[in-house]
């Protein structure tokens, strides 16, 4: 009697019906395409998507292109909204993939580039440049001009990663626990220093700093995209290797080794890929929270932990989530803009909670 009851209960809780890989990735791609259209169509100027055919026609026909209204439409769509959309996709994908990679590497659902201090390292470097650009760091700003902030942000992320790696590695072996704890400590230190800088700065700078702390993709330009693209691509190139290796890591490091994974090499590649993606993302958009934690978890709840699905689907859904959040950031208090981090948290967190509660209901 007991055995039968237990058996049938287990049938109910443990069977996992998982949608196929193409279905999940396809659905995420459709969501991303829809978000991209939304992002191109909505904005403060009132130009909607039906301007797009005229803009495209104008590229080939000088007569249409010379029309003043067409010039304005082309400017808005191609020089403001399109780069903003492209940047949103890149940043969202980078943050979501970085979260998924860190969670897989650490076998810890809480791991996130924000958590192990990479984002904080980037942000600290950026904030330092903003606050001290007229004084101590003036030579850096003079040398790099408008690229001083993004460049320093990227370097800050890399430095944080290297420092963490040095602290956590003894005799060629990286301790995941030490890495995680050291990351939390470094993140706390970086946040504290950012707080000191905010406290000592005037109003104009404070607003800039707030934007860096909560993020925005409002400053998107083609040169910024071109400048950060190599780093996003470096992360992308590593994904096929990482998806296979991270599946093995979920079994444990020793087991991954038994299955033919070079453990230390895999860790280095994973951390470098994350540093590239996060450094580039923070450099152009500040610290945008929640994408790296929420998106991979949503994908895992739907499809299970196989990284061959989780990584590409997270990239697509991360891009979609960030675009929708950005549309909200533009529209809600138009013509002003909200920091996007507020919206990613407001959108991501309740959905995440709903999924968790639904799952717990299923588990009885």
């Amino acid at each position: 009697m007991t055995a039968v009851a237990t058996g049938s209960m287990r049938q109910a809780v443990s069977r996992s019906v998982r949608p196929s890989r193409p279905l999940v990735i396809g659905a995420a791609a459709v969501l991303l395409a829809a978000s991209a259209i939304l992002s191109l169509a909505i904005g403060a100027t009132g130009i909607s998507l039906d301007a797009l055919p005229r803009v495209i026609a104008g590229l080939f026909d000088p007569a249409i292109a010379a029309d003043p209204a067409a010039i304005r439409e082309r400017l808005v769509l191609l020089e403001i909204r399109l780069p903003r959309t492209v940047l949103g996709v890149l940043v969202g994908a980078a943050l979501a993939v970085s979260g998924a990679v860190m969670q897989g590497l650490f076998r810890n659902p809480l791991a996130d580039p924000g958590l192990i201090g990479i984002s904080s390292g980037s942000a600290l470097a950026a904030v330092s440049v903003i606050a001290l650009g007229d004084g101590l760091l003036a030579p850096v700003v003079q040398l790099l001009g408008p690229y001083a902030v993004p460049a320093c942000s990227f370097v800050g992320g890399l430095v944080a990663t290297v420092v963490l790696y040095r602290i956590a590695t003894r005799a060629g072996y990286t301790s995941i626990a030490t890495l995680l704890l050291a990351g939390i400590a470094l993140g706390a230190i970086a946040s504290a220093i950012i707080g000191i800088i905010i406290f000592g700065s005037d109003d104009r700078e404070l607003r800039d700093l707030n934007f860096w702390m909560l993020g925005s993709i409002g400053g998107a330009t083609w040169p910024k995209i071109v400048g950060t693209l190599p780093f996003f691509l470096a992360c992308l190139v590593a994904l096929p290797y990482l998806s296979r290796v991270l599946n093995a890591f979920l079994l444990g490091e020793a087991e991954a080794g038994h299955l033919g994974v070079s453990i230390e090499t895999a860790k280095r590649i994973a951390m470098f890929a994350v540093a590239c993606a996060v450094g580039a993302a923070v450099a152009v958009s500040g610290v945008i929270g929640f994408v790296g934690i929420v998106v991979p978890h949503i994908i895992r709840l739907i499809t299970g932990p196989d990284h061959r699905v989780v990584l590409p689907a997270s990239a697509l859904l991360g891009g979609a989530l960030l675009l929708v959040a950005d549309v909200g950031a533009r529209v809600i208090v138009a013509p002003a803009e909200l920091p996007i981090g507020i919206l990613t948290a407001l959108m991501g967190a309740p959905f995440f909670l709903w999924l968790l509660m639904r799952r717990r209901g299923g588990l009885g």
Binding site: R10, V13, S14, R15, S16, V17, R18, Q103, G104, R107, N108, P109, R244, V245, N247, A248, L250, L251, G252, A254, E255, A256, G257, H258, L259, G260, V261, S262, R300, G304, P305, D306
Partner: protein
């Protein structure tokens, strides 16, 4: 052919293993036995390449372990760990498939699925193939991992010679029928020419299953031979600190022990006999 030569492992000023040598021919079934802390798991880690020894070396078919790249090593040996947990729950079928997809064996999808389904059936988890790992019992988890190991072995075997199989207490959380079934799976692999090395705690099970028993005591090989040569009253007293005379099962004279007649030596008794 596995050759282990003069292995020494020193950690924290203490030798965990010292001067350990053994060799195993293709098709051999070897059980490693010893009391807690004798160095069994350390020796297994050295043989599988998980731990680098301070002295001595390990070779697969004459090729030093240290010079075999990881990816290629996964085609020469498979390892069943003692226990395992998954933070993110794969299903049983997904766990088994990792044995093929992670070493990236160049097999078509149909062959992969055939191997995975056969492995799940062999370990008796067909009914739970779609169950997630976190809902399994300890014994079922261990058998799901065994299915993964079998996938790796069989995928290897399709590409070349039968690889080495290392098992760390494969019977620990299993009922009697599953203990015997798991050792039958190991025997089947040995009969195909693979070398099987298993850490076992049950002396009777080891004597009944293995061709050779290697007894480890305080990091050194105390005895290495057939069950009849090795399972003796002297060994049981010296290594396991138990006074017990083994019997034998006719007609093959495989020794067995009955714990009912055992007397613990003073240094191993948790309860003082003097009251």
């Amino acid at each position: 052919m596995l050759t282990v030569t003069d292995i020494g492992v020193r950690r924290g000023g203490r030798w965990l293993l010292q001067d350990v040598s053994l060799s195993a021919e293709p098709g051999a079934r070897i059980a490693i036995l010893g009391p807690n802390g004798a160095g069994k798991s350390t020796l297994l880690k050295v043989m599988t390449g998980e731990m680098t020894p301070d002295t001595g070396d390990v070779a697969f078919d004459g090729e030093p372990l240290a010079s075999i790249p990881r990816a290629r090593l996964a085609r020469r040996r498979a390892v069943l760990p003692q226990s395992s947990m998954l933070t993110f729950p794969f299903t049983v079928r997904e766990v088994a498939a990792l044995g093929i997809t992670v070493p990236a064996f160049p097999l078509d999808r149909a062959s992969q699925e055939r191997i995975v389904e056969r492995a799940i059936a062999v370990v008796g988890l067909k009914r739970l193939a779609d169950a997630t790992f976190d809902t399994l019992s300890g014994g079922e988890k261990q058998r799901a991992q065994l299915a993964r190991v079998l996938c790796q072995l069989w995928a290897c075997a399709e590409q070349g010679p039968a690889p080495h199989l290392f098992l760390d207490e494969p019977t620990a959380s299993q009922d009697l029928a599953h203990q015997l079934a798991i050792l039958d799976v190991a025997t089947a692999h040995a009969e195909r020419g693979g070398t099987v090395i298993a850490i076992l705690h049950d002396i009777n099970l080891a004597a009944a299953w293995a061709d050779r028993l290697v007894i480890l005591s305080e990091g050194q090989v105390y005895a290495d031979g057939t069950a009849a040569q090795v399972v003796t009253e002297a060994m049981l007293a010296d290594v396991f600190r138990v006074v017990l005379s083994p019997g034998t099962v006719p007609p093959t004279a495989v020794p067995f022990i009955l714990p009912q007649t055992a007397v613990l030596l003073e240094d191993r008794a948790l309860v003082s006999s003097g009251g």
